[in-house]
Amino acid sequence: MNGILNWILWLPIVGMIAVLVTPKAKEQTIRLLTLFTTTVTLLLSVLLYLKFDTSTADMQFVTKVPWIAQFHINYFIGIDGITMLMAFLNALLFFICTLSSWTIEKNVKAYFALLLMLQSTVFGVFFSLDFFLFYVYWEVMLLPMFFLIGIWGGENREYAAIKFFLYTFFGSIFMLVGIIALYYATGKGADSFNILALQGGKFTELTVDVFGKTFSFEHLFFWFMFLGFAIKVPVFPFHTWLPHAHVQAPTAVSVILAGVLLKMGTYGFLRIAFPIFPMAAVESSTIIAVLGLISVIYGAFCAMAQDDVKKLVAYSSVSHMGFVMLGLAAMTTQGVNGAVLQMFNHGTSTAMMFLLIGILYERSHHRWIVKPDGSRGYGGLSTKLPKYTTVFIIGMFASLGLPGLSGFISEALIFLGIYQKFTTITVIAVIGLLIGAAYLLWMFKRMFFGDVNPEIEEYEDMNGREVFYMLPLCFAVIFFGIFPSPLLNVMKASVGQLVDLLAKF
């Protein structure tokens, strides 16, 4: 029973080893091996969902094995409602990405091996309940990302890969200092790296001296953790790595980056920063809300200014993740529920957008809405590519939060939650929605309507493989737009526990 989580965590590594021992020339075997691994992982995560007990906020499927006994470090994994959703999202997106990466031709073996390694490390981040283990996975995740962006990326890939790596590392090294400080603050005992045992506001009384000044332990290390996670989300002003990484990364890596990696940041707030330092979190909620608001508005305006459609979607991610931060800052039941739901829904809708851009890029080999010389990059796509246009409309409207599609429900919940706390911020944030609709529709108009650009005459519509991997996502954004309860039920107990904890401070 408990073994299933270990299987999900380690199966991609098994797949990676299988890929590595396959001869380099057998590219099709390598693709099929990866597809097989990700399919089984997806099926296992469906099984996990079916076996998941929604009535409790406790960790389920727990495995705890001593790793480094001297420091009380354990191999300690388990999931609750929030992680369940993220695990499912991760399994789904990697399955889809394997299919979408079918056209990769450069170094197939290394690419798929790294992709599988990335999947395992992302699962590791979500499953870890031991702080040391969490940190190891958090950092190891950077290695496959660095190489995936740096080797298979666009023209400016080296710069993007290094920037991505350095930014995240900068944030996480502060987190490391925080982790060690917590270890000693709890007296090096058996539970010093146990994330669950650290939760509950146990450090409100402590103080620390840095360079002769006295700080509150709670606040100082909350901000250390905040830095680590905010860079990952990314919250304004730490978002500058994101557009570069997205634009340069190959399609599948963009999908993973926007779909799951950004969620690791908000997940860090939910699992670590808020529950371990609840007092500091509550006292800083205004700052978090304001930063979230700036991300929403600023991200949306930046998106509007882009001529590169992938960059546009990248900035829209900044804007949409800003909504998640707003929901978290609300610290109310609706707000946090909305935030977690938005994490899932943004994962599916943004994945659709990046996949669709990737599909178009394979045909046109550029991503300009308006080319640097002022001419149109596309135009009239809707008459030439009907299937593509249909899927694009679904993805775009899910992204801008049209009622009936998934984005609407999560954003509505977030607004319900935040309105109780920050009325002004809510009012301004709604404008963000409006700008969001504006830039997406404007982009749509410029690319899909108007006279047919002669350059697009030759483009083929989506082929069977492409339709096949877009279908689950289309289904997800429509289905969860009408019936969000399968998602809300799963996370209810876990979110409730967090909100109750925060309400005490």
Partner: protein
Amino acid sequence: MIDQLIGFLSYYIPEIMSIVLMTTLLVFEAAVKDENAPRIKIHVYTQLVLGVVLLNLFLNLGEKPLHIFHNAVTIDPFSTLVKIIMTIGTMGAVFLSHNSKDIYRNLKSEFSIMAVGVLVGGMLLASANNMLTLYLGIETLSILSYVMSSFKRDEASSAEAGMKYALYGGLSAGVALFGISHLYGVFGSIQFVEMIDKVPALEGVSLAIVLVSFLMFFVGIGYKISAFPFHMWTPDVYQGSPIPVTSFFAIVPKMAGLAALIRVTFVFTQEGSVLTIPWVGLILVISALTMTVGNVTAIGQTSVKRLLAYSSIGHVGMMILGIVVMNNEGIQAILFYGIVYLFMTLIAFYITSHLSDMYGTDSYDVFRGLIYKHPVMAIIMASVLFSLAGLPPFSGFIAKFNIFSVIIAKKHYGIALIAAINSVIALYYYMKLAKTMIFSEGEGEEKVLGFTPLNQTVIILLFVPVLFLGIFWDSAMALAGNAALFIK
């Protein structure tokens, strides 16, 4: 009396064997007829004897600590572990010298002779228990090092390296000796065991003299471990010297100097000693400056040898943080760091050496596109670079984690932040090299000649601990933890 001395000699087998090895090598080299012969037998012989020395040291690890030769020398698990690290480093450098084109064919045996000589000096330094033995160790170590660094005698840069090393070394050793003589003047003894007892009674002028003398003494040690501001020689010497020599310098004299610094620190700055605050404060500041200067300067380098030189300065800065906390956990962290650093450094220099032999330069360009020519070597080199930067799952992360852990335990948050920022800077320049190796397309398909099956096997074997200690570090930590220092 004589019986006792002979009894002591049984603890001194590693040193004696090394000296015997050195002298026999001299004889063997004299018997070589063809000056340009490959000298395989001599190298095999050197490795075998060093292997026996290593075995002996491992057997000694469990021994109880004791002072021998009238308190002149301490044999304790700490010094034994440092000697093990140095012996492995020497074996690694000798192995590299066999293939390296940087060491002229007619100098291959000389390299082994010198290296073993430096090793003896290092061993002396690691277990020194009075000021004279300490100084003797420093000098034995240094004088042979000067010669080694100018091994490429017809190249100006190598001659410059030797000259620079000798000038700096001579000066700093002189300053250190000056300091030591004042210490003798104040304490009336050169024996550590006798000097400790007199520390608490220090006051007034004699305290001032002792403080200044220690500062002078630090010059000598600081030079050996290339701590700021005595690090200036490092990049030039590292770059000018042949690569096997550089790899040797990065390990053996550094570890010996660190061992001496640790021992002196722990002898004289026990809990509540008047020397504690100034000495620890000094090391704290030096450490912060050393790592910052090393890492920041490393960014702009274009020669890989210089890069590794500056990065080694950064690592020393990190390691001496373990001294600041003044407890066994700190020493444990340093020793673990030393073990990991040994393997990472050897691999980095091995790969650099084979590439530089092939292309005749050690600029970043020789690494270009290595992944397409030798994927395994490129992956290992990249892993080592990430390990040096302190990224999990490699052992460099655990080493860094331990240092962070001990300083945060003592609530030195400020220095922890400086160290944290430094590791971000370090990641940047290591990443630049990794990037050249993996992201760029190389020119031509030709294989690197130096990566023979044997050399590749050795590199892979050296890589095993880099990976293994990053995931299962229990046993190595226990080993480092047992190597506690023995003073009284």
